[in-house]
Amino acid sequence: MLRRAQCLLRLHGNGGHSLVSRFRNYATDEGNPKQNPNPNPRAQKPGTKNLPALRNPFAAAQDRTKNSYLTMVEIFQERDVHRRNHVEFIYAALKNMADFGVERDLEVYKALINVMPKGKFIPTNMFQAEFMHYPKQQQCIIDLLEQMEDCGVMPDHEMEAMLLNVFGRQGHPLRKYWRMMYWMPKFKNLSPWPLPDPVPDDTLEMAKLALERMCTVDLRSKITVFETSELKDAIDDTWIVSGMSPEQEKLLREHSRQKALYIEGPFHIWLRNRRINYFTLRADADSEFLSELDERQLDEDDVSHIEVPFFGRAPPRRHNQLGKLRSVHQQDDGTIMAICATGTSTKDSLLSWIRLLEANGNPSIGEVPVLFRFTSEVPAKAEEIEGGASVPATSDNSSQDEHISSRQK
């Protein structure tokens, strides 16, 4: 019991030590105990220092670029003719790819496969082929291919040739490769809303992409980028990307002056791994209009009331046959008037958005009361949007209604 506890303590002690030593300069030949936990702890004696069998050059590297990464692979290849521990080397290299920013680089994966000796692992008889000749090596390359798959890197035909040279036609990595080359091209460009890969870093560009994507619902939508500096007394100096279509402008014009509009948000949209906050200008659903539409629930299977269009009787006319059409923006849960994303996502920038909309072809918005309705699960975010104003203590998932009238400006 005591001995076990000591063992555990020692283990934790090692962990603490390694945490401290993590920031040392590993360019020297010192070992790195954290990155290379000794696989055989029985060999450790309590008094001695950790002397790992392997050194992880990737954890030790100082400049983390693709070039230094490839240089390290090269050094390993040229170190000796036997290339001992190449499986461990490849696993270590795979683990550290993200730090070097090369996890989506096909060239690097090829360089790693190139570490494997050619021709040595090709099975020469049926039994070797059947029982996974050199299983550790094969599994290592399968894991490499899987990492490529996870990162969305599609292999090419040169890689097939390399794998054939290493493992032969019966190798399991080849099977994985062929499967990847069958399925990955099929799914690569499947999305109906294609995005650049990688997505741009600039938030404004991302906001434009997000708005464009959301506005595909109405092909006539226009994306406008406003600057708040165009307005006289805007506090925030930022950009506003606004999306609105002529149809929405018409809806806004016809909107009753007595009924409020709501600015709601922040909602989020994902573009690959980036999240963009957006706000909507919404009105309550026009129930009068929706009830006028011919969406009566007619049971067409009911044969008990067939109206026969003969004998002087007028043919059955559908309700609202030439009448109004429902716009795509008129949903059951509200009418969407416009969408926007701003640089700061604050209340002031949204106020600027309304004023800019009013100045740019929507004068009716000045006559309608506009309410802010923010929902944020994070109190800090709510405070940020409010722009330093007092925030209710119960801001978790609660919505705040605040009445502003754009006429008071």
Binding site: P39, A210, M214, I269, W270, D333
Partner: protein, 296 residues
Amino acid sequence: MNSLLRQGLRLGCCLPAVQQQIHTTAVHRTFWEREKKSGYKTKLPEPSKKQMIMDGLRDLKEEMKLWRQEVKEQFESDPILVFRPGETDVVFDFKAPDVLDKWTVTTDADHGEGKSTATLELSAAGAGLFHGQVNSDHTKDGIIKRTGYANIRTKRVRKSFKRETTYDWTQYNMLVMKVRGDGRSYLINLHTEGYFDLMWNDIYHYVLYTRGGPHWQIAKIPFSKFFLSSKGRVQDRQGAIPLNRVTHFGFSVAAKKGMDGPFGLEIDYVGLEYDPSHREEFAYEMYQTPKYIVAT
């Protein structure tokens, strides 16, 4: 002591005495499977005998009702044979009462293997809202490699007296969904659980790309596009989905490629449609593979 021992086992490397007797790596038995959950079955406490009798009697009433309905249908013998093109038949409607009881929500946190959270509830618009956080962080125990998913699935379709059955969607060729997403892509899962253990994990998948934004979106996906996978691996020997053997329906979302964070998918309905202009049977061409390569 026990907890220490367990911890030691999990660490697997620091107990020289124990290590000699117990091997600490996970054992993969791939020959046959004992139960459908593949080792993830959680043993729930059984209610008392009295409670079980009472529950059984209460259920009996409902089951009799169902059974009476089935018998009636059998005698009426009036099945719908012609499905009009362009008409959507709703299968999973979130406007129906107590619809949430028909769905099961699972995440990787259920078995202590991740930190994702998810719930399915009714949204303000009266639709089902599947939302939460997916998180790809996990305890680095050396066994679990990747985590970060959330999943909803309907319960197994059944007849009266808790007899399992399957959906029969052979008359349709399109899946129609009215959803409002957040720009993420979701995975549509059609489970066709079979009788033998090899077929327990048969799931047909396809991607549901969501536009994002405040507008609803109607996604129409032909059944011919769905591909077979088992335990997350796309299978070599493919085929069109057997629409008369669908047992569950569900959606998944993952935190892959750094997409950790909140997600939200609002589902109004999931329906089926017959589109006569869609003539494709299976979207993926099948090549003759060399011998002994498939499924190895």
